[in-house]
Amino acid sequence: MDIMIKILYAVISVIVATVYGLTLGGVVQKIYARVHGRFGPPVWQPFIDIIKTHGKRVSISHGIMFYLGPVFRFAGGLGTYLFIPVIYGSVVFANFSMAGDLLLVMYFIFFGQLGMALGAGEGGHPYSPLGIARGLSQMSTFELPFSLAVIAVAIQYDSLNITTIVAAQQGSILNWTLFTNPFAVIAAMISLLGMNMHSPFSLVLAPQEIPIGPPVEMNSSFLAILQTNRGLFTAAKLVLFMNLFFGGATNLLIMIVKTFFIYLVSVIVGAAFPRFRPEQSFRFFLKWPTIIGIISIIFIVYF
């Protein structure tokens, strides 16, 4: 019975996060439009898009892996989200965070990416592996500063357990990692730009270069699942960052406010910059954020 309640909570938590994530996507579209001087689509546009794509009468599939690719992707998003305790102290939003720690979350991010890459690969379209090659390469580079930041956090709180990390940041705002180890936060936030794949790091989808990269063959419900995942996955990443660096959240409202502002950083940068070439992007991540990440570790060990 206990497990059924757990699952029920998880379902609630996932639905909330998905809705939040998709809405956030709509809001961001709106912000982009305003930056461009447009009205932009309605905030609920992502939901309509998902309904429409699900509503397609036919779909094509290239094989079993193509079929499972989006499933992997969504499972990756779900897993990433479900292994993070979303709201500190909340039972409903604790998810399955007792199954593992920060490392589990970091590695579960790969689960979806790998599955999606396989599915897209079976599509047989040349743009898919091109996009994936870019994506994997970029991922490897932004994971470096991110992992350094995470290590700095682990040193600082002497734990890899997210709940413990959040607990340590409670109380004054000065307890946040943002203030106790700003270097780690800077490094991680730059990595987040890469993770969110907004410009200048939008190498993977890059509509004008390799339209639109990996999901080029994805259609109908496959695409719909990917769209749903985008909402959830964005929410998961933002929650993770909030927990690690911005003191976590004690209720839903704080979570929404904090994650919105975290996301805003990516959005502002994305709205302001054109796209990097792949090797420029890789070099960028391996250079400045990595140095900052190393500084963050030195900072936390020696100061």
Partner: protein, 213 residues
């Protein structure tokens, strides 16, 4: 059509794919398209609403009219607010805008792209050339009526129609979709042989399968 029939058609009515060399035939699907009937009237109504509110058009410029598509996405016209957005791949698009005259060469690509779109799919024919050939009515290299080759839902006349007309066309399309009048996908499947005959008449170097899945 019920499921049994579909299976039967799929089994018995394989496409010949005669335009392909022998060794390439195994690389292309030879399944014949079939029409799909909606499951439920009310659900279909809801879905039609969603389809109408989220029109992703294929960003292919197939003629001179494509120049009029670009302003749609600028701040001045901002079609995004109507749930209209460009999409770089036919797999994910639901609206195909025929951008004016279609030469023999372009028709081949139009057919291919149209067939690769997943139904329900809609076609907006832009400009006079798509209706009766327009100023190219007697060209040896241009087709006169696009609706002989693919089903068209909305025509926007003019040479060229302004972006405002395009938006109007989109709105017309929305209305028609919501009314459940846009069934080009099924029409194409049901009259497949007629369309194919017309297409093959103008496209001489037919080196693709008979239906591009």
């Amino acid at each position: 059509m019920d499921k049994k029939n579909i299976k039967k058609i799929e089994k018995e009515m394989k496409l010949a794919n005669e335009g392909l060399p022998e060794k390439e035939r195994s690389l292309f699907s030879d399944v014949r398209p079939t029409s799909v009937t909606p499951l439920n009237k009310y659900l279909e109504k809801f879905l039609n609403w969603a389809r109408a509110e989220s029109l992703w058009f294929l960003g292919f410029g197939t003629g001179c009219g494509a120049i009029e598509l670009r302003p749609l996405m600028t701040s001045r016209y901002d079609v995004f607010r109507y749930g209209i957005a460009p999409r770089p791949t036919p797999r994910q698009s639901s609206v195909f805008i025929i951008g004016g005259y279609a030469s023999m060469k372009t028709v081949k690509r139009i057919v291919r792209s149209y067939e690769q779109m997943q139904g329900p799919k809609f076609v907006i024919a832009l400009g006079s050339c798509t209706i009766n050939g327009g100023m190219y009515y007697d060209s040896y290299n241009t087709i006169n009526r696009i609706d002989h080759y693919i089903p068209v839902d909305v025509y926007i006349a003019g040479c060229m129609p302004r972006p405002e007309s395009l938006i109007a066309g989109f709105n017309k399309l929305k209305e028609k979709i919501k009314a459940g009048e846009c069934d080009g996908m099924n029409k194409y499947a049901e009259n497949f042989d007629w369309y194919k005959k017309n297409q093959k008449r103008v496209i001489k170097d037919w080196n693709m399968p008979d239906f591009n899945w």
